[in-house]
Amino acid sequence: MGKNSLRRSMLYIPGNNPGMIQDANIYGADSILLDLEDSVVVSEKDAARKLVSEALREIDFSNLEITVRINPLTTEFGQKDLEVVVPSQPDALRLPKTENAKEVKEVDKLLSKIEKNNNLEIGRIEIMPMLETALGVLNAYEIATSSERVSALTIGGEDLTADLGVKRTASGEEIFTARSSIVLAATAAGVDALDTIYSKVDDIEGLIEETKFIKQLGFSGKAVIHPKQIKAVHQVFTPTEEEISESKKIIKEAEKAESEGLGVITVNGKMVDGPIIDRARKILNYSKQL
């Protein structure tokens, strides 16, 4: 899976739970986050990384993108996580609490070293920094462009609001600017922007509302903490039949205009130019992947 993978949903799986790890591929998420950080107690960090490592080697996750959230390198666990898990080749690593480009470059270097020592393709494992502090958000663009491995920027809403000293709300105004900043940085850098979790697992209506909102902001996917959240998130991110047929129309007209040497085209009475044509193309590519 690479930079253009479908990442509408990312399902968090506690890394020390074999029952959940091995069932991960039946829920229909686009991507799995095997977590070694917040969902694993300190006394079990060693167990979790070994479990995730062995799972990566043996379980057939088919088309799922497998991401591992390691512990920060500033802790005693981060380095060991890399040493044990990287040889088992996850598709990507989520780096919690990333605050600057230097941290990403450090991980990039370590990854290359471990890949080299294990005769793995150097540069294949991607990095998805999590921006969970004010400083991290402010440094979003430098983080997004710090390494070729960076394929997505993600936001950690719970930790960010803690850093800001406020409560996380359903309306989310406290993280609105952070969300937008991250989308701007990700877009400028040409990487994905992935949104934070919605913690009220039983409130699917609320989840749909929030997902529609963040989609409109420019996010292309959302992390989820329970399988029952997946369907709703996918529904929001899936282009409608109407959007697909309109996109096909636009592309057809654009190709026709190009072959006739015409600059501006109109579709259904509306002027259609470059950006709209690009968006139509994205929608069609997206729908092809589904």
């Binding site: 074999p18 029952g19 091995q22 167990a47 062995e54 799972a55 043996e58």
Partner: protein, 87 residues
């Protein structure tokens, strides 16, 4: 390699295996309790033997309570228990 202490890894949750390893003088002893002992008992023990050999351990007593763990989980848990006992 000798075990320095008794150590535990894994849980009693479904799909997991709880493994207690302790030092002994009688070579490699494995006590396994599993619902699938008849069908998979030998395979489970084989996985454990392999990890024990890899670490050059000659003496260890193992008590394992299996809740339907797959091979990768057994391997991970025995590795964890042994590492915890060796450190």
């Amino acid at each position: 390699m000798e075990l320095k202490r008794t150590a535990i890894a894994g849980t009693l949750e479904s799909s997991d295996i709880r493994i207690i390893v302790s030092p002994n003088q009688n070579g490699i002893e494995i006590e396994l309790q599993s619902d699938v002992e008849k069908q998979y008992g030998d395979k489970i023990k084989e996985i454990m033997y392999e990890e024990i050999k890899k670490k050059n351990i000659e003496n260890v007593h193992i008590e394992a309570l299996d809740q339907g763990a797959l091979d990768y989980a057994i391997k991970a848990r025995i590795k964890t228990a042994l590492d915890r006992a060796i450190q």
